[in-house]
Amino acid sequence: MSLPDRIYPSRPEQVYLVGTCLVDSFYPDAGMDAIHLLQSCGVQVIFPQDQSCCGQPAWNSGYEDEARAVARTQLEAFAADIPVVVMMGSCAGMMHLEYPRVFAGQPEEKRALALAARTYEFSEFMVNVLNYQPMKDGKTSYQPLRVALHTSCSARRGMQVAAEHKALVESLPGVQVVEPARVTECCGFGGTFSVKQGDISAAMAADKADAMAATGADCIVSADCGCLMNIGGTLEKQGRPMATKHLATLLWESAVEAGK
């Protein structure tokens, strides 16, 4: 579906990659997978070393000045007029949808609007800008990989890229997508929510974990690592671990396999 009225540019030569702070420290391999995948599509990837965090945790907690200071650093790090690909829906939503509000009436407003306009969520960019088509003659002879897809709330309702997520995963050879019960329901992560309202968050995560376990899938795939940490961590603590993968990793592994 993607955001109504969003117009996509033609394939650029270069993109900036926003790794996001969670990927940076906890899923860095997924970041490299995204870089390889984009490069394999003939796009040069720039990974600014000066990037840190989009500022969302403080923004959502109501600490606006603190969030703005960190967001300002991203305006600097992604200053050139190059499309920005964000590895998580939640941070993409912050930059694309919230930055105009974060900087409303501020000296940087114009730059923030420009950055917001050229910011894309990972799957959104792969589908709508790169028109990514996985190689069809992949590992079809293998036992199909059963994937439970979890589209985060910010990807689904903020960036509105649930269809893009699904299209990408479904197009992979040798992958069978299984849908958990109450697929659209929040997993209970919600950033600082999981800490500030630990009991409620845990109850939501437990239900999501049940739904995931019930699918019998081989792995849980999402483009939001907060959800993956939350759902995967709950299942692990319960003694029924399931593998978790960022969408970029699933796509890149499939591409590597197909290229063999």
């Binding site: 990927v23 840190s52 960190v70 630990g198 409620i200």
Partner: protein, 520 residues
């Protein structure tokens, strides 16, 4: 039925006690109690699933739904845009129709006005149709202290009153109880008009039949009737009220005095606004195409007419609404048509239920409206409640009039944490800045200091990677129910640097030139 009446009485008393106990606690404790109550969890989960499916069934076409929501939003925004003018027009036209209009700035004023009307009419008993504003101003409590008997006549509200509890949902007040609990309540606490205990039955028709028989008598004898209002139409001076049980019609037509009470935001300009909103309200609320009753009240009994009340009053309540109206970001709060869809779709509400919020209005709209009301403790008393949201957006997606509920919740968090030095826009929410505490601001200042300086950020993530084996194995509350996430040995910053991924546009250009030179 395996319990005898005495045992049932004990269970019902215990439930009442549990409710009072929960009410006396803080938000987090209330939420925890709710989460641990399996019966309650099952009631809310079941209700949410059922109501979401029902709503979906009456909005089969996504495109049509979005178009309807656009029109609903536009209708509400039109009304709010001209609110002062429309309120004056409403007053003039209601007065012309013989309805007496009263303005109440605070909840207390509203209670006093209603009591005054009752006193002037020598009325001692009040039968009530469903009205959330009457809950908001705590009318029953006020009138009962003055010796006036209030009887709820909406089935759900009636049961809540029997149980000595509070509504847990704005449309379905007793949704927290299952059939068995309701059957026990009726059997142990209600008496038939002949003074007998109501026979035990879990059959819905029996339950409603028994309540109806009791309430009929009360309608006949009540000195005054009270109702809410769903829309007040300015051009014609008409009060519109939707309901399913007929108790609304009885409360507004049988007793000699009818008192309607509503918030000032409920006014719309003309009858043509009605279909826009009426198409959305029952569909969003209960998944009905239309409610069983749609009452259009346009004044008291006229000379020569055989029925209807002799007096009709409208009490227009502010209680913080003018402040909402003057707040540039929070104004959409007033768009609400109180359908309850946001709570039906809220995953937090589905887990903790309505009572955990501790406020008249629970769920997402409750989180937004409660701190802004004049009599609910502001942000100081409701800070934990506004944090009980993962900002997942399900409420905003369901809202028929497109209130950006998650944005408003975030905005309220910002209001609550606003530094004392900042100048607020418009009228601040009560308790602005009250949640800014030293601990939390230190955390965010520290976070900001590191994350805004790239070098500090890189250093700290590198150290985290190096020290990963030293990381604590436990970090409550996260690790109470989840494993501890382990940072990778090397961050993406390091991996990308090592792989020669350019860091800036200049670096990328330089690399490209080099490559071209090599290729030559």
């Amino acid at each position: 039925m395996s319990e005898n009446r005495i045992e049932m009485q004990q269970i019902v008393d215990q439930e009442e006690h549990d409710f009072a106990d929960m009410k006396a606690r803080h938000f987090k404790a209330r939420a925890k109690m709710a989460l641990e109550n399996e019966t309650l969890r099952a009631s809310f989960r079941g209700a949410s699933d059922f109501l979401m499916a029902k709503r979906k069934s009456v909005f089969p076409d996504d495109e049509e739904l979005e178009a309807l929501r656009d029109r609903g939003e536009a209708a509400r925004q039109r009304s709010l845009q001209d609110l002062p003018e429309l309120l004056e027009m409403l007053e003039a036209n209601l007065t012309r129709n013989g309805v007496q209009v009263h303005w109440a700035e605070t909840a207390d004023d509203a209670c006093k006005i209603i009591h005054g009307i009752m006193e002037a009419g020598n009325a001692k008993t009040l039968v009530k149709g469903k009205s959330m504003v009457s809950e908001e101003i705590e009318l029953n409590h006020y009138l009962e202290k003055k010796g006036i008997e209030c009887l709820e006549s909406d089935m759900g509200e009636y049961l809540v009153q029997l149980g000595n509890e509070a509504p847990s949902h704005i449309v379905m007040p007793v949704i927290h109880k299952n059939k068995r609990q309701i059957a026990r309540l009726m059997h142990t606490r209600a008496t038939t008009p002949d003074g007998e205990p109501v026979p035990y039955s879990e059959d819905v028709d029996d339950l409603i039949g028994n309540a109806r028989a009791i309430l009929r008598e009360k309608f006949r004898n009540a000195d005054a009737g009270l109702s809410g209002v769903n829309m007040a139409i300015a051009e014609t001076g008409t009060l519109l009220l939707v309901e399913n049980e007929g108790n609304g019609r009885m409360s507004t037509t049988v007793p000699p005095i009818h008192i309607a009470v509503t918030g000032i935001e409920k006014v719309v300009r003309s009858l043509t606004d009605v279909p826009e909103l009426l198409t959305l309200l029952p569909r969003s609320a209960t998944g009905q195409l239309i409610t069983t009753y749609v009452n259009m009240i346009s004044g008291p009994r006229q000379p020569g007419e055989l029925d209807g009340p002799q007096q009709v009053h409208l009490v227009l309540v502010d209680n913080g609404r003018s402040r909402m109206y003057n707040h540039p970001q929070l104004k959409p709060t007033l768009q609400c048509i109180r359908c309850g869809a946001c709570m039906n779709h809220c995953p937090v509400y589905a887990r903790v239920g309505g009572h955990a919020y501790g406020s008249t209005y629970p769920g997402p709209i409750g989180q937004v409206v409660t701190p802004q009301l004049g009599n609910a403790g502001g942000l100081a008393a409701n800070g934990d409640m506004i944090n009980a949201c993962s900002l997942n957006g399900a409420c905003g997606e369901a809202c028929p009039v497109r209130i950006p509920l998650p944005d408003l919740i975030r905005e309220l968090r910002a209001e609550a944490a606003r530094p004392a030095t900042a100048t607020a826009l418009g009228m601040p929410v009560p308790g602005t800045g009250s949640r800014r505490n030293l601990g939390e601001s230190l955390i965010w200042t520290g976070w900001s200091t590191i994350y805004k300086v790239p070098f500090l950020y890189r250093t700290s993530t590198r150290l985290m990677g190096l020290g990963r084996s030293l990381m604590p194995g436990k970090l409550a509350p996260w690790t109470n129910t989840r494993s501890m996430p382990k940072p990778a040995a090397r961050s993406l910053h390091q991996l990308a640097r090592d792989a020669g991924v350019p860091s800036t546009a200049e670096e990328a250009r330089y690399q490209n030139k080099q490559r071209q030179a090599e290729e030559k």
